[in-house]
């Protein structure tokens, strides 16, 4: 055999194959992370993969944006805050499903390293984010680095790896198929809101809500055998310290939690954990508690809700009210501190008991879900 010929042909054939593969993925760009950003109608203008790859998508956005206010959190914030609603183009929603404080601090450091003009960070938290089993689990494609150069190098290296991945090729293919069969669907808005739900309104709020209650009650990384993670609390403390050191204004808020979901916590015996967790938070900093009850947060569950998609996620209509409250300079009645935490928790307990009395069918519904699980 002519070994030189064999080697040169091997390099050429495999090199060409990998190059074509790379260009295909980089052009289709299913996670919307490429610096090229060439939207082609009926090919890649809509990005359905950003739904399940929100973490990858959001991780790359600080490279292309120059925001003064960054909103972070998990799926509740991702779906519930549409910065466009308050008409401030300098606000970006960098949240993604399943986010935990250990990942958020990487996002904050990256955003600040690339944009020292960052002034305000709003972090939405909830009880499940502090489950002891929740760790930064999928950070292999979260961009990080100590300075802009190392961040850009990290971004390029991860972009190359992802563009040479079979998984990305599958998502590219699905993107093209989706674009051929659909029109005018926005998955993520320009300012980072996951808008897909607004294009495909739920027709089955009851079924989806029951499914979510079942999942949350039965999964160990949500509420089954729940324990508060000290590690995640420490990471939140690190975020607070970082913002203090860099003079970034940080506002932490507890996301609205529908009373049905709070009833689930009560029936699972997690109400004391729910309160203990709030006490731990206020020890670190004043907290905006949006999980308390008012005319918006207690909207009855059903079709055509204005403020909730289902039992676990609120809509941008509620998000806009909260966002205005968070950004107004004079403070908010929702703020809980070490001084008023006992009073606020007691008031909230009474609010829930009253809701229970007024909504016995809802309470029974949660009970039935748990009974079903026991069987």
């Amino acid at each position: 055999m002519n070994y030189k010929l064999f080697l040169s042909k091997t390099i050429k054939i495999s090199g060409l194959g990998l190059l074509v593969f790379f260009v295909y993925n980089a052009l289709i760009d299913p996670y919307e992370i490429s610096p090229l950003r060439i939207p082609i109608a009926r090919i890649n203008a809509m990005k359905p993969a950003t739904d399940n790859f929100g973490r990858v998508h959001k991780s790359y956005q600080p490279l292309y944006l120059n925001s003064q206010t960054l909103i972070l959190g998990n799926s509740r914030v991702d779906r519930g805050f549409r910065p466009e609603d308050i008409g401030d183009s300098k606000v970006f929603n960098g949240s993604y499903p399943g986010a935990v404080p250990g990942e958020l601090i990487l996002n904050i450091k990256t955003a600040y390293a690339l944009n020292p003009q960052l002034k305000t960070i709003l972090i939405g938290v909830d009880l499940m984010m502090f489950n002891h089993l929740r760790r930064p689990s999928q950070v292999e494609y979260t961009i990080s680095g100590k300075n802009p150069l190392s961040i850009y190098l990290d971004a390029v290296s991860k972009f190359l790896k992802m563009s040479l991945s079979w998984d990305t090729a599958v998502q590219s293919y699905k993107t093209v198929v989706y674009n051929l069969n659909n029109t005018n669907v926005v998955f993520y808005s320009r300012q980072g809101h996951f808008s897909f739900f607004d294009y495909t309104p739920f027709n089955e709020v009851d079924r989806v809500s029951d499914q979510l209650l079942t999942t949350y009650a039965s999964e160990t990384d949500v509420f089954k055998n729940y324990k508060i993670s000290q590690q995640n609390l420490e990471q939140l403390q690190n975020i607070i310290a970082f913002c203090k050191d860099t003079s970034i204004e940080l506002k932490i808020f507890i996301t609205p939690t529908h009373p049905v979901m709070q009833e689930l916590l009560l029936q699972l015996g997690l109400w004391p954990d729910w309160e203990e967790w709030k006490r731990e938070l206020v020890k670190m900093a004043p907290i905006y508690d949006f999980s308390t009850y008012n005319e918006f947060t207690t909207e009855p569950l059903g079709q055509d809700m204005k403020y909730y998609y289902e039992v676990a996620h609120f809509k941008p209509a509620l998000g806009a009210i909260l966002l205005r409250d968070l950004l107004k300079p004079e403070g908010s009645h929702a703020i809980v501190t070490v001084q008023n935490v006992d009073e606020k928790l007691l008031a909230h307990q009474q609010q829930h008991l009253q809701w229970q009395k007024d909504n016995p069918k809802m309470s029974e519904r949660v009970h039935l879900v748990l009974e079903k699980l026991k069987k």
């Binding site: 055999m1 002519n2 070994y3 030189k4 010929l5 064999f6 080697l7 042909k9 091997t10 054939i13 495999s14 194959g17 990998l18 593969f21 996670y31 739904d51 399940n52 790859f53 929100g54 973490r55 990858v56 998990n74 799926s75 993604y96 499903p97 399943g98 499940m128 999928q138 494609y141 290296s157 190359l160 790896k161 992802m162 040479l164 991945s165 079979w166 998984d167 990305t168 090729a169 998502q171 499914q211 979510l212 999942t215 999964e219 990384d221 949500v222």
Partner: protein
């Protein structure tokens, strides 16, 4: 750094290869060797700088003991050297296992040590022991420090073998001083073998591993069926074979690209018709080490009947412990020791006669029995604890009602996993192995010679085949996992 990473394939390997060959061609062999040592230390230190210090300290002490042994070949100096090496490995690998077992019998529990196992410690420790033994026995008269460091740290075999001897490696490096080049044949074969190994690891082993992971990580938590137990066990048998033999092939291929022939480590072990043959084909360099440095010094087969079987059992129990600090590994070694004793006794007691056809059927049957016996032992090797292992085996050996088992076998297993298993079965039992394709180190001889079976192949056809394997290996190197929203 791992062979199956973008950093290694697209950065480290090309840079190191180009610089090394440039230096060799320009007739700077000592500089080339020094560069290779530095590159290998970077390769190791990329994982942990702390353990790089340990590796270097261990190398310095062993080289010093070796020098003393060359001047004064006394047994107590050799023993000191061996004890030094064993103490390092015992401290890092076995101290927590020891503490855990002591804690079973004492009231005041000892705290476990906060230790991380330095990568490749089992391999470089054994190689340093062979170095000292070879000096003591007079096989190795003289050694140079640079050669010694290069022999130990040469990156293709640093992390996972094959286990080599100083005299196997250093003369090959010395040869490149005089020839000043590495042949196209070696380069072509090295590249092709590396790609085959990469494909085995990334495409075959990594795709079968989720099936076994589900079984072994949930062995006691979930209800398991007869079919689950066997499918998971077979999946692990394929996973460990393609993982380890793939890594060995990558090491052999990489070394060839630098003009070095490493010894063969696997020779289709699952095609073996008995356990004795299996151990001649599985992790061959470890088997050879255990034979030469443990079994023979214990008396080997010269001591006859019972003592020979006892020696076999000791070797296999220690071999099991070498693989990992846990009772699971000791039981795995004990099972293989038992298999070997039965096999030896069986060979002495029976002679088979018959036609070629009956011999073929018999070989097929024995191969199947050997494979199943090996799989049963793998359950202990892979299971996280003894409870999981016994749970899996009791289910696999019929702990539940058969009608239920066959129902599950029909519905779940055949549909989901059959194509992958079919491919693996075909590759394992129907295709030639790397040694046969490249006629690399003829199995029955220990002659180090590369003859090229693919010499007659068309370079275009071969390039196409290797490129396809490389393409799929690269695109499966990195996984981008979705975050399934509705679960959270």
């Amino acid at each position: 750094m791992l062979f199956n990473s973008f950093e290694f394939i697209f950065l480290f390997l090309p840079v190191v290869w180009i610089v090394y060959h440039f230096l060799i061609r320009k007739n700077f062999p000592r500089t080339a060797f020094s560069f290779l040592v530095l590159a290998s230390l970077f390769f190791y230190g990329y994982w942990s700088m702390a353990y790089l210090t340990l590796l270097m300290a261990s190398i310095l002490v062993n080289f010093a003991i070796g020098k003393v042994l060359q001047k004064f070949p006394r047994k107590h100096i050799l023993v000191t050297g061996i004890v030094f090496n064993l103490l390092i490995i015992i401290y890092y690998k076995y101290s927590n296992f020891f503490i855990e077992n002591v804690n079973l019998f004492v009231e005041n529990k000892l705290s476990l040590l906060n230790l991380f196992l330095p990568l490749g410690i089992s391999f470089f420790t054994f190689q340093q022991i062979t170095y000292l033994c070879d000096i003591f026995s007079g096989k190795l008269k003289n050694s140079q420090f640079l050669n010694y460091v290069l022999y130990l740290t040469f990156f293709p075999h640093l992390l996972a073998g094959p286990i080599t001897h100083y005299l196997q490696m250093v003369p090959q490096f010395e040869k490149s001083k005089t020839t000043n080049y590495i042949s196209d044949k070696m380069l072509a074969a090295g590249w092709a073998i590396f790609i085959i190994g990469l494909f085995k690891k990334v495409v075959l082993a990594d795709h079968i591993s989720p099936i076994s992971d589900v079984l072994f990580t949930n062995a006691t938590a979930t209800s398991m069926t007869f079919a689950d137990a066997w499918v998971g066990t077979f999946a692990y048998a394929f996973q460990i074979y393609y993982d380890f033999s793939g890594y060995s092939d990558m090491a052999i291929g990489l070394a060839l690209m630098f003009g070095i022939e490493l010894p063969l480590n696997f020779y289709s072990p699952y095609k073996s018709a008995n356990i004795i043959e299996f151990w001649r084909c599985w992790h061959m360099t470890l088997s050879k080490f255990l034979r030469d440095y443990l079994y023979i010094p214990l008396g080997g087969s010269r001591t006859g009947g019972t003592r020979r079987y006892l020696n076999l059992m000791i070797v296999m129990l220690l071999g099991g412990l070498w693989h990992g600090a846990g009772w699971n590994f000791i039981i795995w070694g004990g099972l293989h020791g038992t298999y070997l004793i039965i096999n030896h006794a069986f060979q002495r007691g029976f002679k088979f006669a018959g036609s070629d056809r009956s011999a073929t059927i018999r070989t097929g049957l024995f191969t199947a029995v050997t494979f199943v016996a090996v799989c049963v032992a793998w359950v202990f090797f892979r299971a996280p604890n003894l409870l999981s292992a016994t749970h899996i085996l009791s289910t696999a050996l019929g702990g539940k009602s058969l009608s239920m088992h066959f129902m599950v076998l029909k519905s779940a297993v055949s549909i989901n996993h059959a194509p992958l298993f079919a491919v693996l079965i075909f590759i394992t039992w129907c295709l030639p192995n790397v040694s046969q394709i490249f006629q690399y180190q003829d199995f029955n001889k220990e002659v180090q010679k590369v003859r090229f079976y693919f010499d007659q192949s068309s370079p275009y056809l071969m390039a196409m085949g290797v490129s396809v394997l490389f393409f799929f290996s690269v695109v499966f190197l990195s996984r981008v996992s979705p975050f399934l929203y509705f679960q959270f």
